[in-house]
């Protein structure tokens, strides 16, 4: 372990004890002692008034030729010939990083007959697009995608590679990182370039959002991250922008196809893209029974949003698991989250607390959800929700929109 307490300097003040997010410090005979579980995060070092904590990070077996890795590469995820929003968001984030580094921004586009998407990628900031068109790549499967994309990375050596933290990105990125033996940070909500070093600083929530961590990958390339959808801003497209398209053939290796897609079941509209919806209307135990979800479905429909559910509602069988928001379900960050009859257990909050605006409707004035709401309505959801649905319907029904 690279962490030591310098016993001569430790005064046993105990300041470091509560600073440890992992509870690994204790005082033994008036000196701090580090127990198992330390991740060398450095939180204790920062609070120590006596500089009694020393951390030495051993140099890992670094990627060779690290200086050859340049530029930012974005995985341009598409589904059925349409780019996912997160691909454009990544271009926005990638453009800033590439700009700071004075390096280029590239996109890797994999699929079958997707060339028409290239101009969209250029318009959103890509300087180059690596286009891999093959039948095997029509629908996402781990192995052909991993083979194709790791081939591009090995050949073109980007310094940074970004993926959307979708079911695709979170399946593909760790497979590639393991193949290339490099670092990968999951679910980032912030990306920056470190001033002196030019390294990628990857900011992400951990412990269910209870703490935030900054992570870097100093001696391995590429520096890889998956980025949570909807956190980064989509750039304004510039349709006059042009770029260089580089077609790459024959990457997907058909012998590697050990999985076969039998069928794809597109779910009902209401369920689609809970994670991508701008507005989410969620229901919990307070809805009392499955049938009452229709109240939320009506509201979601007039708002143009999606319906979600708390764990309690899912465990009661009122909604299937794909609707669940929270720790063992989905993480959403819409512009507006309306929680109806949800008490707000921490397992729920971690799935929605990064929403721009949270509105809670609950009959219990003590419900924890009200503490995280921008607007809390203490009242009967069976009356408030239909009343609000009527108001929205009226507003949207041809009247001059209010500003």
């Amino acid at each position: 372990m690279g962490i030591r307490i310098l016993e001569d300097q430790c005064t046993g003040c105990g300041n470091c004890l509560p600073s440890c997010p992992f509870g690994c410090l204790e005082l033994v005979e008036n000196k701090a002692v580090i127990r198992e579980g330390c991740t060398l995060c450095g939180a204790c070092q920062e609070v120590c008034p006596c500089e009694a904590i020393s951390i030495e990070r051993e140099a890992a077996s670094a990627t060779s030729g690290i200086e050859k890795y340049r530029g930012v590469l974005v995985f341009a995820e598409q589904h059925r010939g349409r780019l996912k929003d997160c691909a454009l968001e990544l271009l926005g984030a990638g453009q800033k990083l590439a700009g700071t580094l004075h390096q280029e921004l590239a996109a890797a586009l994999l699929g079958s007959e997707v060339e028409a998407l290239c101009p969209i990628l250029f318009a959103h900031g890509a300087d180059k697009v690596y286009l891999l068109e093959e039948e095997e790549l029509e629908q996402y499967r781990t192995e052909p995608y991993a083979d194709a994309l790791s081939g591009v990375i090995t050949q073109y050596k980007p310094s940074v590679v970004l993926f959307g933290a979708t079911t695709t990105g979170r399946d593909l990125a760790p497979r590639i990182a393991a193949r290339l033996r490099t670092g990968l940070t999951a679910d980032c909500t912030g990306l920056e370039i470190e001033d002196q070093t030019g390294l990628l600083l990857q900011i992400r929530p951990a412990f269910g959002g209870n703490i935030m961590a900054t992570i870097k990958c100093a001696s391995h390339r590429p520096q890889m991250a998956t980025v949570r959808p909807k956190v980064m801003k989509k750039p304004v497209p510039d349709l006059s922008r042009r770029g260089e398209m580089i077609r790459i053939d024959g990457r997907a290796n058909s012998k590697s196809l050990r999985t076969r897609i039998l069928q794809i079941i597109e779910a009902a509209d209401e369920m689609v893209n809970l994670e991508e919806a701008e507005i989410v209307v969620s229901g919990g135990r307070g809805l009392e029974k499955a049938e009452n979800f229709h109240l939320l479905e009506e509201l979601a429909s007039v708002l143009g949003g999606a319906v979600g559910a708390s764990r309690a509602a899912v465990d009661a069988g009122w909604k299937p698991h794909p609707f669940q928001v929270g720790q063992t379900g989905k993480t959403v960050c819409p512009k507006l989250y309306i929680a109806c009859g949800i008490s707000g257990a921490i397992q729920h909050l971690v799935g929605m607390q990064t929403s721009d605006i949270v509105v809670a409707i609950n009959k219990d004035p003590e419900a924890p959800i009200l503490k995280v709401a921008d607007l809390g309505i203490v009242g009967d959801l069976f009356q408030v929700v239909p009343a609000f649905t009527r108001v929205v319907r009226k507003l949207k029904g041809g009247e001059t929109p209010r500003k």
Partner: protein, 264 residues
């Protein structure tokens, strides 16, 4: 059918928050945070036990962590797993997901032939979901993540994957690695007698010397990612609370949202 289930002991994050709110110090208080078997891994253990009940064979649990991670393995054994192995050595400390996947793959090679590896989709402390795919890559076997249904027929299986737009049904040969989500099953709650039985099953502990590994690829040394700093995010909310009659409340809500550019 030999099923290996990779499990992790995690702090109960729900408890962390409670402690934090009470203390209101802006830091995580260490006392009284219980450790539990990662909830996603419970689904993986349950599924493995069901597969064994249907197809015969054996369920082996594998974990890496400090000695107290035995508690998580005991929980898994009490749910019906047959044996458990804990990788425990100071040399493994500080592993990121890449080093963890590599170390687990070395242990699995030592365990011997297997048909299926199950993991929980992610752990609730790190939420990365990266170890499963990394492990599959190290073992050069196919992977399917976000799995909510498994049907095994001979050396083939059909699995259903839960994705943003719905579901995908895939066919996949064995051996393979599957990462499962909630909704795949309802994990059993072990009885007290199961716990006693689990204690009798025992846990094997393997240290660095028990594995064939390249030492530059394990622990802190083998971890490309470093945590540079940790802080507690600001809780920005605590907005207004109203308790008007339903019609007025609905009107106020509409005005509130219009002022913020929604509904406009």
């Amino acid at each position: 059918m030999h099923v290996i289930v990779c499990v992790k002991q995690v702090p109960d994050t729900a408890e962390i928050k409670k402690v934090q709110i009470n203390a209101d110090t802006g830091t995580i208080v260490r006392e009284g945070i219980p450790s539990i078997l990662n909830p996603f891994d419970e689904y993986a253990v349950e599924e493995a036990v069901r597969i064994r009940e249907k197809h015969g064979g054996k369920v082996t649990l594998l974990s890496m962590g400090p000695a107290q991670a035995e508690d998580a393995l005991i929980k898994g054994l009490s749910m019906g797993a047959d044996e458990a192995i804990l990788l425990c050595d100071r040399a493994f400390a500080g592993s990121d997901t890449l080093a963890t996947a590599y170390t687990l793959s070395a242990a699995i090679k030592k365990i011997g032939p297997f048909d299926l590896i199950l993991c929980g989709q992610q752990a609730i402390d790190g939420d990365t979901g990266q170890v499963g795919p990394g492990l599959a890559e190290n073992l050069q076997i196919p992977q399917v993540t976000y799995v909510n249904r498994i049907e095994i027929q001979g050396q083939e299986m059909r699995v259903r994957r839960e994705v943003e737009s719905g579901y995908e049904d895939l066919e996949c040969g064995l051996p393979a690695l599957l990462a499962v989500v909630k909704g795949i099953n309802e994990p059993r709650i072990p009885a007290f007698s199961d716990l006693a039985e689990a204690m009798d099953k025992g846990i094997r502990t393997w240290a660095l010397d028990d594995l064939m590994v390249d030492e530059s690829r394990i622990g802190l040394k083998g971890s490309p990612t470093w945590v540079m700093g940790i802080w507690t995010p600001e809780v920005k909310r605590g907005g207004q609370i109203i308790s008007d009659a339903p019609e007025e409340a609905a009107q106020k809500l509409a005005v509130f949202l219009s002022q913020r550019g929604i509904l406009s």
